[in-house]
């Protein structure tokens, strides 16, 4: 009774690649050994510091010291740089542990096969095996790394920030250190009067905005699509082309343009109104009218998308359903209510929920048009039209209240992700995707 699998496994656990060499897979073994060698060099110099950094976030702030009678700035620990460096190191360490585990499992498995009398694969055969059976995983490796470092790592970082006191004016590195504070930031945001008043106010408006903007663009788009699709309307293609134009103009341009058009003093809209003897409206400067303006402008930007979507659905409704309705003597309105509307709602419901979730995070519409203004004196660094996202932006980039911004971001993320996940898991394309074929 040979004990190849245990031996190979233990050898590989001691040093990556040894088990593979024991299994006579020399090229693979050497590759694993090389990986471990590089990793050892890297981790010996970095891992200790990473653990230290993660727990303390730096110990000595920058300070003035007298060197031979002259005051000199001695650079200290930069908490945020330390935090992110530690995070990167730990991420590499986790990746290394995964590779290490895979290496042990590989040695063990091949050892077991040898015990059963099967010779181990040559290098060529291993490559072939991966290409045939582990194709998906190896295909996902490259995009996965990109996502790991540019999406997941930053998210970890932001989540961590919410548990620190990284905020102006007292805890901005490099002059000062940052510390872990636990749930204090969340407590301040949700309970402390100064912050919670703004938070609930902005949250309410965010939800009102998301509901109104979704409904207006959706039903606006439906109306336009139905108008164009009526029997007897000519030049259908032309109408569609004309109405699609707002969609083709980059939002950045159209919203900045609208901001000029609606300008209370110089804006053409008020000047036209004045022309007809009407007083101008404070489109962007009055809290109520500013809210009206963003909704209206968002309709202009968003209706073409819904229109396209619903036109697409209309073409898929079977004609015989209408014919059946006609035989039963249904009026136009009844046909719409009984056939068209349910069909549209049925096939666009997932998109509708996604649009709602997207509107909660609709940064561009607010930021480019009003910048969150007009200013609201009762709010902490937020204006009357600020959504949670734009408030978060202001808190980070203008006010340096990074911990507060991160806490808001986490809450926002939970809301939006909850919606989309619920929606996605419900859709048939997720549950029954294999039934398509």
């Amino acid at each position: 009774m040979q004990r190849h699998k245990a031996k190979a496994g233990i050898l590989s656990a001691i040093f990556m690649g040894l088990g593979q060499i024991y299994n006579r897979q020399f090229i693979k073994g050497l590759m694993f050994i090389a990986v471990e060698a590089v990793a050892l060099i890297y981790f010996i110099s970095n891992l200790g510091r990473a653990f230290w950094g993660m727990t303390t976030l730096g110990e000595s702030p920058s300070r003035l010291e007298k060197v031979k009678g002259i005051a000199k700035m001695v650079p200290g620990d930069h908490s945020i740089v330390i935090l992110i460096e530690s995070l990167i190191t730990l991420l590499f360490f986790v990746l290394f542990l995964i590779v290490w585990y895979m290496n042990i499992r590989d040695a063990y498995k091949i050892g077991a096969e040898r015990e059963n009398g099967r010779p181990s694969h040559t290098f060529k055969q291993s490559v072939r095996y991966i290409l045939d059976y582990k194709f998906a995983q190896s295909f996902l490796l490259l995009p996965g790394m990109g996502i790991l470092f540019f999406t997941i790592m930053p998210i970890f970082f932001m989540i961590m920030l919410a548990f620190t006191n990284y905020a102006a004016p007292n805890h901005i590195p490099p002059a000062k250190l940052v510390d872990w504070v636990g749930f204090e930031t969340f407590r301040n945001l949700l309970v402390l009067k100064t912050w919670s008043h703004t938070f609930y106010g902005v949250l309410t408006w965010t939800i009102i905005w998301a509901v109104l903007s979704t409904i207006t663009t959706y039903f606006g788009g439906m109306l336009v699509a139905l108008l164009i699709n009526q029997k007897g309307i000519r030049f259908k293609g032309m109408w569609r082309m004309l109405l699609i134009i707002p969609y083709a103009i980059p939002q950045m341009i159209s919203l900045l343009l609208m901001r000029n058009l609606f300008n209370g003093q110089f804006g053409p809209i008020n000047q036209y109104l004045g022309y007809f003897g009407m007083g101008g409206l404070p489109w962007l400067t009055d809290p109520f009218w500013a809210k009206v303006t963003v909704i209206v402008v968002n309709m202009w930007v968003g209706i073409p998308v819904s229109m396209l979507l619903i036109m697409g659905v209309l073409t898929t409704i079977p004609r015989d359903m209408y014919e059946a309705a006609e035989v039963d003597g249904a009026t136009n309105y009844q046909k719409f209510r009984i056939v068209t509307l349910p069909m549209i709602l049925f096939s666009t419901a997932p998109t509708l929920i996604m649009q709602f979730a997207g509107n909660i995070n609709n940064f561009n519409a607010i930021f480019l048009l009003t910048g969150g203004n007009p200013v609201n004196g009762n709010y902490q660094y937020a204006g009357s039209t600020d959504l949670l996202v734009t408030w978060l932006y202001k808190l980070t980039l203008d006010q340096n209240k990074n911990n507060m911004a991160s806490a808001i971001g986490i809450i926002l993320f939970i809301i939006v992700a909850g919606f989309s996940l619920y929606n996605y898991r419900r859709t048939k394309s997720f549950q029954e995707e294999d039934m398509i074929q």
Partner: protein, 282 residues
Amino acid sequence: MIIGRKAVNFIRLGLSYIVLVALAIAAIYPALWILLASFRPGKSLYSKTLIPEQFTLAHYKELFTSPVYMFGTWYANTLKIAVFSMLIGVVLTLLTSYALSRFRFKSRKTTMSTLLILGMFPGFMSMIAIYLLLKEFNLLDTHLALIIVYAAGAPLGGTLIAKGFLDTIPRSLDEAARIDGASNFGIFTRIILPLSRPMITYIALTLFVGPWVDFIFAKLILRTKENWTVAVGMWDMVNTMQNSNFTLFAAGAVLISVPIMILFGFLQRLLVDGLTAGASKG
């Protein structure tokens, strides 16, 4: 009775045309207005007539010759960034969507849900982290940094849509090819890629337009004026001199919008497919 019905129909169509004309005017007016403003002499935002009394190309000329606005440089920068992040992003998106559509492996559904959720994360929330990461690698103020970040984020936006499309390509084609001895990679390049041309175009278009219109991230990374993209430049133009030189802004806006509008015009059909891909799979 029949006459009554005809009259009702006539009124209905008449009203519909009136509404359509009104909507069309509302849709075109701002676009037309900015186009005409870009040809208007002077700098003012307001003019009494929609159609200018005189036409001039001076604003376009100024954009490219003025020492203050380096519009030509910005345009070239944006084009470069957009093309490269589109190419890399399309490849990455196709890799993920092909793997998710055609292979069944453990944690596949988890991967899909994770992609969806990560895509929901407000992008600039992670800006500080990415900023520091790029600083670590000495990539701040470079176009490479933007390309890497846009391309790395591409699979988050496009994978699920592209996967939905790939699912509709019959798997019997794959199997036939497999019997003929094609490898996984061969199937991908010879069957999947040619058949998914509409989807690739859609993804490529969205990835190309992204860098044109993104200014938040570009503004953070690109510090020196000659490295800016058009979006950052235009944003700066509006913010530093709102209303004082509107016609120049209009000219810049036209130059940014026209290529995108032409692309959209050509690809209208595909856009509809792309939009509905996520919706009506049921």
